[in-house]
Symmetry: C3
Subunit: 170 residues, 3 copies
């Protein structure tokens, strides 16, 4: 039995939802792991990101969003409108802003407005922050048209995000 560990660093656009299509990278790590039978967990350590399994849609808009991404964005925007200013959602409240600017000074949020990402938190909760895939005969079981996406829902600042890949099996 083996545990294979790696992680990807993925940079977001900063001003809109970012989809990172990471299928090929995950597949290469499954191959490098040498694991023939097992599972592959792809997980975000951030609470404003998600990992999903979806078909690649071949048409793209001007921003580069695949059409299924556009449809998902619209669905979620209708449910969870972009957080434009304070008071729109309960979060972030005054104490949260204080903690972010003072207690975590320089570590998390450089400015108060960067904490107005309540929409990103709720989208991440709704879609989940990890997905688990099955490995059979050394291959990810994701079908002929399945792809893995790491989504960064945060639209307020450009950031390097981490995506963990953990492969367990034999």
């Amino acid at each position: 039995m083996t545990v294979y560990s790696t992680k990807l660093t993925l940079t977001s656009y900063g001003n809109r939802v970012t989809y990172h299509e990471i299928t090929e990278q995950v597949k290469q790590h499954v191959e490098a792991s040498g694991i023939k039978e097992g599972i592959c967990v792809v997980a975000s350590p951030h609470t404003t990101c998600s990992v999903i399994f979806e078909e690649l849609s071949y048409d793209k808009d001007f921003y580069g969003y695949e059409y299924l991404q556009l449809d998902l964005n619209k669905l979620l925007e209708n449910l969870i409108p972009d957080c434009k200013t304070q008071g729109q959602y309960h979060h972030p409240g005054p104490e949260h802003i204080r903690v972010g600017l003072e207690d975590f000074k320089g570590k998390i949020s450089p400015e108060a407005y960067t904490m107005l990402n309540t929409d990103a938190h709720l989208k991440s909760t709704l879609l989940g922050t990890s997905e688990t895939f099955v490995i059979e005969n050394g291959e990810m079981q994701i079908g002929m048209v399945g792809y893995i996406y790491f989504i960064d829902w945060d639209q307020l600042r450009k950031r390097d995000r981490t995506c963990h890949i953990k492969i367990i099996g034999e």
Copy 2:
């Protein structure tokens, strides 16, 4: 430590959402695996299916839908209306139709209309494509009333679908 691998083949109705209640089959494979402490991952390799954990609702409608399934169907239909024709959602766009009919000729979509399953893709993304269960003392920890369902959201054609079961532990 053992990895036990198996899969189920599940045939959809083709003209409406299909729920496959697979609890007993999963339990039998957990027993066959001999694993006493570990996890059981139930996963779809398809991007228009989901695996969920839900109570069995004893009343059924004329189609055989359990009442909790009816309530879930209605909730999701309100959020994600059935894709009735092109242009309703962004996906599938013209290039996607071309790729499906030409590049994947005979492999995926036999006719253009079968790609109008955008609703199924979005439902699958919202509910996820796998669920992980815990095994303790050789038994799935799913309570007295918990059941496992493999859902095929695609309403456009009858298909044999695969459901992967991977059990890891000792």
Copy 3:
């Protein structure tokens, strides 16, 4: 390779949604497991609970709900209104009530009204009943501000709930 198993008992309020913040407990079990590289599955055996990964929001309302919890509650209440009486949802139907009161007499639902928790079932399905975390160098990879919550969506009666923690790795 090791499998470490434990569970928490968490008591709900009974008259409203209950969030149990269990991050520290999960971390302590990861340390106790001695596992340096692996995964940690946190799972509910109940079909009206969820496990989520979310930021801790420092402001709270009079009930003690963190502000992100308030925002999540409101989002879900809009989608899935509280089940106030029979007929509002399909579930629970007459046969389900009969089974709950007679076949499972004394084991599950002491009174018919306690089965009017359809909203809790649908919320649990939407958010999922487990989450999988990655362990690296002996530490849960949940970032500086990530927290683990076990949510009991059932608002009809106070109950002791079980939360399973399964840690696999080496």
